[in-house]
């Protein structure tokens, strides 16, 4: 029996510690999970929110990542307060959840830096990605020669969903011969090491790549904010039913508060 005493003591200590942590129980906790693209924005907003005088010491955040679909599943099962999604609602999404739009994000077409294409129209992008045009010699302004290597994201990616909606439309599909990568990083690395590659990426993942202007408009934050750049997608906080309590206040804060708007504008596109 004696041997078990240290163990029991440790358990008691752990319980006490967890109680101590939970002691300011009046603090409401907002748990969030989901899109890795939305998470950096969420972190900034959460920091600003808990520093607001009326919420100071009363609200806590736990922010986990994992991908848009993980956030949507988590919130629909009630595992988190809010899910983060970088893709629009889909028919097969679980019922009873509400997508609350909080910001927008620019999706850019990118090529290897040795292949600085001046501009691409929507038709050209559709031709290239659907496989109708398969050689760089058929693309005006391309430095590269030889076949075009499409580097895209897997079906479950929020960025792939956004690219499909913005650039390809309802009927066209990305050619089946395309290389599909599981993450932003792998995709960017592949495009960096292949002079013939073309792909797409969220604005924040375009470092080291050539960003192709779309319809003559460079893919920059300024152009996306002004509405000139057409390739933008939505960032959502997803709630189970209509958002209630502190979660609702947080969503309103993200949408309307001047401080929050300034934060969004630092790397993303605020809602107009």
């Amino acid at each position: 029996m004696n041997r078990n005493r240290p163990l029991a003591a440790a358990i008691a200590l752990a319980v006490a510690a967890s109680l101590a942590v939970a002691a300011p129980a009046s603090a409401a906790t907002i748990t969030m999970s989901g899109s890795t693209s939305v998470a950096p924005l969420t972190t900034k907003l959460a920091k600003a929110f808990v520093n607001q005088p009326q919420y100071k010491g009363k609200v806590k955040f736990v922010i986990l990542q994992g991908g848009s679909d993980i956030g949507i599943t988590d919130v629909s099962r009630g595992r988190v307060t809010l899910g983060m999604s970088s893709r629009d609602p889909k028919p097969a999404d679980p019922g009873g959840i509400v997508f609350n739009k909080v910001a927008r994000d620019a999706v850019c077409v990118v090529t290897n830096s040795s292949n600085p294409i001046a501009t691409l129209s929507q038709t050209q992008i559709q031709d290239i990605f659907s496989g109708r045009v398969r050689s760089w010699s058929q693309v005006p302004g391309a430095n590269a020669s030889g076949p075009i290597d499409l580097v895209v994201r897997t079906a479950a990616s929020g960025t792939q969903d956004a690219f499909q909606n913005i650039f390809m439309g309802l009927t066209l599909r990305v050619a089946g011969s395309a290389t599909t990568k599981a993450s932003n990083g792998l995709q960017a690395q592949t495009i960096k090491s292949d002079p013939n590659a073309i792909g797409y990426a969220s604005f924040s993942f375009t470092a080291g790549l050539h960003v192709v202007p779309y319809q003559g408009v460079p893919c920059t934050l300024r152009n996306a904010k002004s509405g000139q750049y057409a390739g933008t997608r939505n960032f959502y906080f997803v709630s189970r039913g209509a958002a209630k309590g502190v979660a609702k206040e947080f969503i309103n804060f993200a949408r309307n508060n001047p401080t929050a708007k300034r934060l969004v504008a630092s790397d993303w596109v605020p809602l107009s």
Partner: protein, 333 residues
């Protein structure tokens, strides 16, 4: 007093033999129940995908990446879920990569093991054996990183000519990430394990057998080949089986260097075959895990998992059989 203490420990006290036996038995049963539960769970989840496609699931047809997209974009109504899938490119990719790596690895590690056991001077062995053990412990993602940062761009630039690329441009992209690179890196990954197993087996061959042959005037290579290697044949098989299991489950590294396109490389294309991209089952699983929440997509992923589970089950059985026959030769695995 000493003796009394030992007697007490043997018969009674908290950790009596009977009690320990029951506790350990319970732990063993939990492990067994876990495995059975896991198999049932995976197959139950995977069933709709198999049921909707029938045997065609294992066939070829259409473009797998587009089929996965359709499954992912299924409508909300369970009656309208899309399940159509022809998984042949994944199955063929898994087989091609694994078989290639294990065959090359078996030959290479057998020769290396013979060198280590019979020919290498002790000084060389003191370096060689720790290095082999170290190689076996390198995590696969490290190989993947080296592959995607160094080997894949090099292959794409120097080994794949523009003509070769254009000859298949309408079907598939050759960008350097390919079956060949996957096989080569996978071989490097599994060879250390194989060498270790084969070396142990060769060392376990009774010295009297080899010395008897040497006394008859046979040279060292012939002794190794005709006596040691023949005796250790089951060990070579066991090494192949164990490394096949590792190769089969390898996901991250292959997803980084093998091309990430659901394409079945075609041996008729000659040398181009080696430069064509492919995607094994395990890679397809990790690459798509983000979409697990979409019900039919999740069930399709579980179907991939079920196929992997069955294959590795057969492999364990084969490994067990190989070990049994090894025991017959008095060789410890």
């Amino acid at each position: 007093m000493e003796a009394g203490g030992i007697a007490a420990r043997a018969t009674g006290g908290f950790w009596s033999d009977a009690k320990v036996e029951r506790i350990l038995g319970a732990v063993a049963c939990i492990v067994l129940a876990l495995i059975v539960g896991m198999i049932i769970f995976v197959f139950q989840k995977a069933w709709p995908s198999f049921a909707h496609n029938g045997l065609a699931w294992f066939g070829s047809g259409g473009d797998l990446d587009l089929q996965l997209e359709d499954i992912f974009a299924s409508p909300a109504n369970p009656a309208d879920y899309v399940y159509t899938l022809r998984a042949w490119p994944l199955l063929w990719g898994t087989f091609a990569v694994t078989a290639g790596a294990v065959l090359i690895g078996a030959v290479f590690s057998l020769l290396a093991a013979i060198f280590i056991v019979e020919f290498a001077p002790a000084r060389v062995n003191r370096v060689l054996e720790p290095v082999v053990r170290l190689l076996a412990a390198v995590p696969s993602v490290v190989y993947g990183l080296i592959g995607i940062l160094v080997i894949v761009p090099w292959v794409g630039e120097h080994l794949i000519s523009l003509e070769r690329e254009e000859s298949v441009a309408n079907v598939v992209q050759l960008s350097g990430a390919c079956l060949g690179v996957g096989v080569v890196i996978l071989t490097v990954m599994i060879v250390p394990i194989m060498i270790a197993i084969v070396v142990d087996a060769l060392r376990a061959v009774p010295r009297s057998w080899t010395e008897g042959a040497a006394a008859l005037g046979v040279n060292r290579w012939r002794v190794m080949w005709t006596i040691s290697v023949h005796t250790a044949r089951p060990a070579v098989v066991a090494a192949a089986v164990l490394s096949t299991a590792r190769a089969l489950g390898e996901a991250i590294m292959l997803s980084m260097v093998a091309g990430s396109a659901s394409f079945a490389p075609n041996p008729i294309d000659g040398l181009t075959f080696l430069f064509e991209p492919t995607r094994p089952l395990a890679s397809a699983l990790v690459e798509n895990v983000e979409g697990l929440s979409v019900v039919p997509f999740g069930e399709t992923l579980f179907a991939f998992a079920a196929v992997l589970l069955v294959s590795s089950m057969f492999l364990s059985l084969a490994g067990f059989a190989a070990k049994q026959s090894m025991r017959k030769y008095g060789v410890r695995p």
